[in-house]
């Protein structure tokens, strides 16, 4: 009872403080509380004190109003502070937790910037997040919620990184959060990311949500929802419906999903996509599908188009048809069944007929190149046919595909015998249009390009015949030696030594010497480190290409470390900094 009076006093006092104490003197609502306060005061003296303080406020004037009101506030607040309510009635339930596995505790100096990067906007945050992922710093439970928030990061790359690399670490523990913040109709990229992640972490539990997203979701969410459906036959009706969607992206996603379902209805949808305007959208899906009926339809479709094409005369129509046939041919890529093979080989045999086609923007040569591309990635027989036809191919692009097919299918020695003549052939280097020159270049380039494009080892070819290095030395192609080099090849070493001397003498920049030094390093040439240092010494004033040149350092032998360290004091600031970084990489190299 008495506490109730006190809270009443508090409320009145708060009201007066907000309105301004000038209106406090004579305030009748406050005044009304004096008698009950005095009554309680008889039992507990503190209430009498409050009553006094209230009286002073009410009886005061404008001048004293502030001081008396504050006096009252201090007193009442002090009492109320002792009346704080604690506890919570009701049954105590267990906290539902999901074990997140072993979690670490990151230090504050590391954690704080990361927390800020995740919760703020601005430049430089991606680096911090990437760095933390690398250091495994996200295995800290204090980062879970901020990471969840960052799925909506306005900077797309951070949002993607978080959704792909960080949040999966936490497993099912974050399902509830993801779900409660997921908006079906959300167009911002955080919502599709959420749905994908939810499905990835808990496919069963997310089914209802996926279905709901298909019915009501935004375009962006629908696309993901379709991806989540995929292979389950029960999802077919949804997918069939989505294939009629207005938005291209949604239709495309539906085609993709339908491609992995072996069902007549699904095939029918893909067939009509192929026959109609959606062919471009559906290529990847048609390619993926392994349905026999669909395949027959595709082959029949190309055959029909091809026959029509050969009869067409109008140049514009020819171009259009060629485009369409090329698209349809793409649908056959990556197939090794007998039907596709027979069709492709048959068509390959009609090259001379196709080569005559001339449209206004496309020609028969384009079509053949598309066909050759299918064969390069096709069945064993397709590749064999392409390889053995190398001598009869028209363009250097076709030869390149043939070489690539051969390398995958034939023994290295045979490949060498078939294709090395292109490299050793006598060519007129000055006449760049010389077909022999182009063919030589295409073989050389397709060997050397691997350095740049296949560093991660995907699509790696079997090793080449060792004799390639011999002819690389014979024709004196440093790029090729760099690619093929191996330790202890006397001819290569001698050639490189000689070339290096000449190149260094003539060189005007670091870049001029890079290839030959790289080749020496690759061949583990005894003088590789000397060459590297000699180049640096000659060109030390000029560090525009330095970073590019210095990238070779991690490939040097570890014995180079002290010699390179000795160079640092003489280098410019920038050059020294990058050298230090690369030296560290060399030091850490196993």
């Amino acid at each position: 009872m008495s506490i109730q009076v006190l809270t009443q006093v508090y409320d009145e006092m708060r009201r007066l403080a907000i309105a301004g104490s000038v209106v406090a003197p004579g305030d009748f609502r406050l005044k009304k509380l004096i008698p009950p306060l005095e009554q309680s005061g008889a039992k507990a003296p503190v209430f009498a004190k409050v009553a006094d303080a209230v009286k002073k406020v009410v009886d005061g004037n404008e001048k004293t109003s502030a001081a008396t009101l504050l006096e009252l506030a201090t007193l009442v607040n002090a009492i109320l502070y002792t009346q704080g309510e604690t506890g919570a009635p009701g049954e105590l339930q267990e906290i539902e937790t999901t074990d997140m596995g072993a979690m670490a505790q990151t230090s504050a100096r590391m954690l704080k910037p990361l927390l800020e990067a995740l919760t703020n906007t601005g430049a430089g945050r991606l680096e911090i997040v990437r760095d933390a992922i690398e250091r495994n710093a996200f295995r800290d439970l204090r980062l879970v919620k901020p990471a969840l928030g960052a799925i909506d990061d306005p900077y797309g790359e951070i949002g993607d990184l978080i959704a792909e690399k960080v949040l999966p670490i936490y497993g099912k523990a974050i399902l509830h959060d993801l779900r409660s913040t997921f908006d079906l109709k959300g167009k911002a990229s955080g919502h599709p990311r959420r749905l994908r992640l939810l499905h990835q972490l808990d496919p069963e539990g997310t089914r209802d949500l996926v279905k709901q997203a298909l019915d009501e979701g935004s375009k962006e969410v629908k696309v993901i929802a379709i991806e989540c459906l995929g292979s389950d036959p029960a999802d077919l009706s949804y997918l069939l419906e989505q294939a009629k969607a207005k938005a291209q992206e949604v239709r495309q996603a539906a085609y993709r999903a339908l491609a992995s379902i072996d069902d007549d209805a699904a095939v029918a949808v893909l067939k009509s996509a192929m026959d109609g305007k959606d062919l471009e959208l559906a290529i990847a899906s048609l390619q993926k599908s392994r349905n026999a009926k669909l395949l027959r339809h595709i082959i029949a479709g190309v055959e029909k188009e091809l026959e029509e094409l050969l009869k067409t005369k109008d140049k514009k129509a020819v171009s259009q048809k060629i485009d369409r046939v090329e698209s349809l041919l793409q649908c056959l890529e990556g197939r090794d069944d007998a039907d596709s093979e027979a069709f492709v080989l048959k068509t390959f045999g009609r090259r001379s007929e196709l080569a005559k086609l001339k449209g206004d923007s496309a020609s028969g040569a384009d079509l053949i190149l598309s066909l050759v591309a299918v064969m390069e990635e096709g069945s064993k027989n397709m590749r064999l046919a392409l390889a053995h036809e190398h001598a009869n191919l028209q363009s250097s692009d076709e030869l390149e595909a043939s070489f690539s097919a051969a390398r995958r299918i034939l023994p290295a020695a045979e490949v060498f015998e078939m294709f090395s003549p292109y490299v050793t052939a006598k060519v007129d280097e000055k006449k760049k249009r010389d077909p022999a020159y182009l063919k030589r270049q295409v073989i050389i380039e397709s060997i050397s390009d691997e350095v740049y494009f296949d560093e991660d080892g995907d699509n790696a070819y079997p090793p080449l015949d060792p004799r390639w290095l011999d002819i690389a030395v014979v024709i004196g192609d440093i790029g090729l030696i760099r690619e093929l080099g191996r330790p202890g090849h006397a001819a290569a070493n001698a050639f490189l030594k000689e070339s290096f001397g000449a190149i260094l003498m003539k060189s005007k920049s670091l870049d001029d010497c890079r290839d030959v030094v790289a080749a020496m390093i690759r061949c583990e040439h005894p003088e590789a480190t000397d060459a590297f240092i000699a180049v640096l010494e000659k060109q030390k004033k000029q560090d525009y290409y330095f970073y590019w040149f210095a990238r070779l350092i991690p490939e040097l032998p570890k014995s180079a470390i002290p010699r390179l360290e000795a160079l640092i004091p003489n280098l410019g600031e920038h050059a020294a900094n990058s050298l230090v970084d690369y030296l560290q990489q060399l030091r850490e190299k196993k």
């Binding site: 301004g20 502030a66 504050l70 502070y81 906290i95 439970l141 919620k145 004091p569």
Partner: protein, 484 residues
């Protein structure tokens, strides 16, 4: 011999950039000379900078718990990258030749030695005589400042909190500067704390919506009554000191700190606020941006293993100088401190030390911490309430609580003691640390029974509830930090 490794140098560097640059100097071979003294307590060398003359830097480990770094470069970072580099060079086992200590270093060393000894002597000597006239003059100025504070406070109340607006808040900020001039920085901060209630998160004053304002009214009234109490108690305290110039700053309460008295360690030692050979474990840490003070504040929450008292280290980094002051980091070992100075204050007073040696945290230390947890929530609540009622008390004290179990009642997370007394957990109103309650649902189940909870108490004026915010949980095997 000096035992330092790369990790030691990492932590000695004022920030990550200094560490990187220091290491770079070593790798770039910028050190022209690297020397160590014969007794191995001093590293010194010369480092090439951008100028003609190299910088002469040295790291003196004569006092291993508080090494001295010297360098004649103009950097205000301390230790500068040259000293950091020197230490890296040593840690990376570069070739240091033994050499006699250069004269200037030797004399600096002697001077330091003398200073340290003098400090020790000073600490033992009775404090020097104060200039009574100057003191009286200062106190009078402070009393004038108190009058200004009173006027400002009363103006606010008279006008009404509801009529506070961005313009007025800015004006008050301006007047608050006068308090700084009147040797009342503490009172100035208290006034800032009030005005910042009306500012946005960025510290700028913009007009607020009615809902935003409604949320701060209760807090604002409490702040005003705090300012009122500060005026009253401050005036009484200053008048007492004016009448009796021999009176020392008060150490029993925090009033001196409220007025902005900067405690000298010698003063603290003189009144016996020093604990010898303390061992401390950090239980929580936070680093927050205090707009009212215009500073970053790094706060460490430490428990002394000897007496279980929970106290705070505070590192203030004013915005303007933040670049040059080393930020504190969380600390997961045991800090061994020769002399622990404790500031006057209430539940969680501030502590400070000069020089510390780390040792690994062992299970027996954790066991020790757990014995200090309060098992009886009813008793602790009574203590907290008794403490909160003081108008100038710390409104969010930190305690260690031994809970029987943690659970949920409805949506609320709750800690329960052996007698079934419960405390509800919340993040509301405690924004110095990042939110922590929601982390409970990510913890292993075993942590929810019979452990020690380090928690901050807060009484919410609007809901009239006394609730806690979990900072960390001390289990037999680890300290699970929920904040920083």
């Amino acid at each position: 011999m000096i035992a330092i490794d790369e990790a030691y140098v990492d932590s000695a560097a004022p920030n990550a950039d200094a560490a990187k640059n220091g290491r770079g100097l070593v790798l770039k071979g910028k050190f022209l000379k690297l020397h160590a003294s014969e007794d191995g307590t001093l590293l010194f060398g010369e480092c090439q900078g951008s100028g003609k003359e190299p910088y002469r830097c040295s790291s003196d480990f004569a006092r291993p718990e508080a090494p001295t770094h010297r360098c004649n470069c103009p950097s205000r970072q301390f230790p500068c990258k040259h000293c950091v580099g020197l230490m890296y060079a040593f840690a990376l086992k570069k070739n240091f030749t033994t050499a006699p200590i250069p004269e200037d270093l030797a004399s600096k060393r002697e001077k330091l030695q003398a200073r340290v000894e003098k400090k020790k002597d000073d600490a033992e000597k009775p404090p020097k005589q104060v200039n009574k006239d100057a003191l009286a003059k200062k106190i009078k100025a402070q009393l004038d400042g108190i009058d200004i504070l009173e006027r400002l406070t009363n103006d606010c109340v008279r006008l009404g909190i509801g009529n506070m607006n961005a313009k007025l808040a800015r004006e008050m900020e301006g007047q608050a500067k006068q308090l700084g001039n009147a040797y009342l920085p503490g009172a100035q901060n208290a006034l800032h704390a009030y005005t910042t209630l009306f500012s946005g998160n960025d510290g700028k004053y913009a007009e607020q919506t009615a809902a935003q304002r409604e949320r701060v009214y209760s807090e604002a009234l409490d702040q005003l009554s705090r300012l009122h109490a500060l005026v009253k108690q401050g005036r009484a305290y200053l008048q007492r000191r004016l009448e009796d110039p021999d009176l020392k700053p008060e150490t029993e309460s925090s009033i001196a700190a409220w007025l902005g008295h900067a405690w000298h360690l010698t003063e603290l030692k003189a009144v016996g606020l020093v604990e010898a050979d303390a061992e401390l474990v950090q239980l929580a840490f936070n680093s927050h941006d205090d707009i009212a003070r215009q500073e970053y504040v790094d706060t460490g929450v430490w428990m002394a293993l000897a007496n279980g008292k929970i106290r705070l280290t505070q590192n203030f980094r004013p915005y303007k100088a933040a670049k040059f002051i080393k930020s504190d980091d969380s600390f997961s070992q045991v800090a061994q401190v020769k002399e622990l100075c404790v500031y006057p204050g209430d539940v969680n007073p501030r502590i400070r030390w000069e020089g510390m040696l780390p040792r690994p945290l062992e299970p027996k230390d954790l066991e020790r911490i757990r014995t200090f947890g309060k098992p009886d929530f009813a008793a602790i609540v009574k203590e907290v309430k008794g403490h909160l009622k003081g108008p100038l008390s710390d409104k969010m004290p930190i305690y260690a609580l031994n809970f029987k179990r943690l659970g949920k009642v409805g949506d609320q997370f709750v800690a329960e003691d052996a007698k079934g007394e419960r405390l509800v957990m919340t993040d509301v109103g405690m924004s110095e640390e990042p939110p922590s309650v929601n982390l409970l649902s990510l913890l292993p189940k075993a942590s929810f029974a019979d452990n020690t909870l380090i928690a901050r108490f807060r009484h919410d004026l609007d809901t009239r509830k006394l609730q806690i915010k979990p900072l960390s949980i001390v289990t037999p095997s680890s300290v699970i930090r929920l904040t920083l």
